[in-house]
Subunit: 93 residues, 2 copies
DNA sequence: ATAAAGTAGTTTATAATATAAACCAAACAA
DNA sequence: TTGTTTGGTTTATATTATAAACTACTTTAT
């Protein structure tokens, strides 16, 4: 009846991050922060979780002299997101 | 950009309960337990939260000699559910 | 009549999660 | 050179989810 909801994606902030990343080639920390309105600490933790799960790739680089953390979704991430969205439909029709 | 997800509804089990109740006039504890596959303890707690939020009404009665807890959604619940579903769409398109 | 097992839950203890506050290092500005 | 801003990370705390333990009663078997 009800499909299981991947707990890694069933989180407002991680879902927002995935939702952004699925639509772009890549996005940096500052952009994600602005789009989601999250605090830096929270975003940092949630990016880490998505990376550990293999759903996103994180590249640590510099923009000029300032640190810049670039995120992009992996194929695994895309699959997981698609399945999550599908599973959600068993709840919300 | 992203709408807020009502944390009371953004929970797998509570969402499942609401999803069931939106489609029926009422449902009892045992039915909800079977449909969701939840443990009795977890279901009891989550029903309580939904009731306190005013999203469902709980009627304590008997089926024969055995206790029977009947749940039905309120108008407030229906509204909250509709808004939650709508908000979700800002994440999953 | 009594013990054992089952039904329908509730309460409570614990594990997992989310979140913000505090912190760090480098850059820039006064 | 002292303070402020940027771009984060780490850690402490509050919240949440969940299962285990318990309550109260019924049914079944002895």
């Amino acid at each position: 009846m009800f499909r299981e909801l991947n707990p890694l994606l069933h989180s407002e902030l991680r879902l927002a991050v995935m939702s952004i990343l699925i639509g772009v080639e890549s996005a940096d920390f500052v952009f994600l922060r602005k789009q989601t309105g999250a605090t830096a600490g929270n975003l940092s933790v949630q990016i880490d979780k998505l990376q550990r799960a293999g759903y996103i790739e994180v590249e640590k680089t510099y923009r000029g002299k300032l640190p810049c953390t670039i995120c992009r979704m992996t194929d695994t991430g895309r699959e997981a997101f698609a399945e999550y969205v599908d599973a959600l439909k068993s709840y919300i029709g």
